[in-house]
Amino acid sequence: MRRTTTRARLATLLTVVSACALAGCGAGGTTSAGDGPPSELRLAIGGESEEGFDPTLGWGRYGAPLFQSTLLTREPDLGVGLDLATAYEVSDDGLTWTVDLRRDASFTDGEPVTARDVAYTFNTAAEQGGLTDVTALERAVVVDDDTVELRLTEPRSTFVNRLISLGIVPEHAHDSGYAQDPVGSGPFALVDWQQGQQLVVERNEDYYGEKPAFERLVFVFTDEDASLAAARAGQVDVAAAPSTLATQEIAGMRVQAVTSLDNRGIAFPTVPEEGRRSPAGHPVGNDVTADLAVRRAVNLAVDREALVEGVLEGFGSPATGPVDGAPWHEPGSSIDDDDVDAATAELERAGWTDSDGDGVREKDGTTASFSLLYPADDSLRQGLALNVVDMVARAGIEIRPEGLGWDEIYQRMHTDAVLFGWGSHDPTEMYNLYHSSMAGTESFNPGYYANPAVDRHLDAAMAATDPDEADRHWRAAQLDDDGTGFTAGADAAWAWLVNLEHTYFVDDCLDLGPERIEPHGHGWPLTAGISRWRWEC
């Protein structure tokens, strides 16, 4: 297959050359002809980090940091694996993480990776106002050449995600120009970065781990249309495409749909309107969605399968909660939906009846009607919102969809339902969305949801020192043995709708290795397994 592609490219080259002879230009040599895997791979999957490649400012927080290596890695099934660390241990009080380091790793400038570099990286990241949140760290301390202690201000099981995502930088070379010219111990080294255009990297031949199969990678930072055009013209081997465009066919490429935690769901205000205001001064509460029966009825009435087929073109799955597919997901929290009878029964029991015969129920003078806000420029969320309107109308609930800008949504998110999208490898997100202490903080827990039992589970999960124990508590927060939890069958704080699949056009010859569950964000996360990509022709 590779040969045909090469031949196709040669043909392309010939046409370009002949066209250029007329137009008077010189086409650059694009591909080396010949058998075997190509030495260079070209990817149009977006994800340019305009700020550069400094992990202490947030580079590498998802996907591969390419140039740096991390203490731990995330396995394809979202388990935790070792990288620079050979072992790690959390103290019983959860405050001290002791990490043993391998001794054979070195930076691309030849200097060894030591405990001092690790401590420096963590301490620097904790103080930097960047996109990696290491504020839980009190101090990273060097114990000896290959041991580091990370001391936290409070127990936090999710700190493991910083060990997974924070690339280690060399203390001796971490200066103001580092972000533009990174030095690290990762599988690749930077060759050239032309901002807004492309990033060229080459294999680090001294890398201590499994070496990638490709000598050189070129990331082209084209937008969706140009990426597809480049794929059609045979100029890239991988191109990210939105699911709505993934139904088309491109010769020599297949569509690969990757499961993700990227989800969409409706956040309900869960408290009645009582004149309260958020810390930012915005009103709080909605009398309709504060009624548990309404929230449950919406959850029961929507047909999630139909949303996946109709809006996502089949590239997705019905969502039960915010973390479907992760090790900390509670499978028992799923419900049978598309059940208008159950939704109706739920509403009738709570006293919502359609006394005036207009198709919308009322209770004590309140009509079962509320607004659903979605970002106006997001056609996917618009599609979901409009479909949900029809689905819940069957149960006698009226939803008024409104497309707005984010700034306006942030002002109204405590009084109206909002179609949000989340999805992270870090369960801290679940804590932020459902813990009562996060109500009104940024866009976390916008509905002011509060349940002491759920708070207890979330706190216990954060304080756990063992990953399995943490996962048990995370699952209990969704639905515990007493039937309490934030998911649809219990408090129904949200109506989760769908999980997306991220779609890519991939050269028929390219094997992307074991599938990895991607976080929110389509494109760059694909690089997480890039060292294991192989050419199969």
Partner: protein
């Protein structure tokens, strides 16, 4: 009046222009800053973006502190303005580099694109305008006028996508993106390569400028052709091609040149779209990024830079117009 006072008058004119430029720049700075300060978009939220849930309140406070967003707007503005007077435009929040570096690098890429587009639109617009004017009322004129109106109402990005689809995807004559072939390092791409990559974006961008020049030149040509001195030349036996070249071209060039120089602002606006379509890493693309991400220092820097650019363009337009059409020299003076 006249010769003796000329140097003094010129000096006064220059000082006047400098004063106008300074007040323009100050007004642009204040206006832009007020707009951005009043914008409901939260820069920290825009920066955090998709990582919203992974970045907690404490970290957000750190980000705001790094950018100095905690200070009141007036204080931020005076601090910024003071730095600008010393030549320091601050650091771009998105790119993490000095604003002057970002603008310098991006403009270097944009300037060839804008210059080529400017030349294409000028030369094409003027020649076709002359042609249409000379052939007034004939089929060629009608086709050209129709074409000019179509171009004037076609959105740049749409023309760009159309050209991209036809020439890059279907025919594969031109590259789909970027300023150089994918995977080449700086310095590796030949001049021809660069021109090849410049062609389609420049063609797209030139669409912005062709129509006004064409239509105005056509009008000017018609007027000149109807004037007495052309009638005199006709009477002496001069025929159309020569008539247009010798009698009309220079007179019609005045409005064309003035429009051409005055269009620098529109050219910049168009480059924002054209660069986006072709992933051309110029100033236009940086502007989009800065605006979407609320990068105040960079956006202000770009606003100031373009204000100066447009001002210079207009000033050159005045000069060129006067040089081309000597009669206006006296009128203005």
């Amino acid at each position: 009046m006249g010769v003796l006072n000329a140097p003094a008058r010129r000096a006064r004119g220059l000082a006047g222009r400098a004063l106008r430029l300074a007040s323009l720049v100050a007004a642009v700075a204040v206006g832009c800053f007020a707009l951005m300060a009043g914008s409901p978009v939260d820069p920290v939220e825009a920066y955090v973006g998709a990582d919203s849930a992974a970045v907690g309140p404490e970290q957000r406070a750190q980000i705001a502190e790094r950018w100095g967003l905690d200070d009141p707007p007036v204080e931020r503005f005076t601090a910024w303005a003071g730095n600008v007077l010393t030549g320091d435009l601050g650091t771009s929040q998105v790119f993490g580099q000095p604003v002057t570096t970002v603008i310098g690098e991006r403009f270097a890429a944009s300037v060839s694109l804008m210059a080529l587009a400017w030349l294409i639109s000028g030369v094409l617009g003027f020649t076709l305008g002359l042609l249409a004017g000379a052939l007034r009322g004939r089929v060629a004129d009608r086709v050209l006028t129709w074409w000019a109106y179509t171009l004037a109402s076609a959105p740049t990005f749409w023309v760009g996508l159309l050209l991209l689809y036809v020439f890059s995807v279907s025919l594969q004559w031109t590259p789909v993106c970027c300023a150089a072939p994918i995977g080449t390092l700086p310095g590796e791409a030949s001049l021809l390569d660069q021109l090849h990559h410049l062609l389609l974006p420049a063609l797209t961008l030139s669409v912005v400028g062709i129509s006004p020049v064409l239509l105005h030149t056509r009008q000017a040509t018609i007027e000149v052709l109807a004037s007495d001195h052309v009638a005199f030349a006709r009477a002496q036996g001069e025929r159309l091609p020569g008539l247009v070249l010798h009698r009309v071209a220079r007179n019609a060039a005045g409005p064309a040149l003035m429009l051409q120089f005055a269009s620098v602002g529109e050219l910049f606006g168009g480059s924002v779209l054209a660069e986006q379509v072709f992933t051309y890493p110029g100033l236009g693309e940086a502007t989009t990024t800065a605006a979407l991400r609320q990068d105040v220092p960079l956006l202000l820097g770009i606003a100031l830079f373009t204000a100066v650019l447009v001002f210079v363009g207009n000033a050159l337009g005045d000069l060129a117009h006067r040089a081309a059409a000597p009669r206006t020299r006296e009128a203005v003076a």
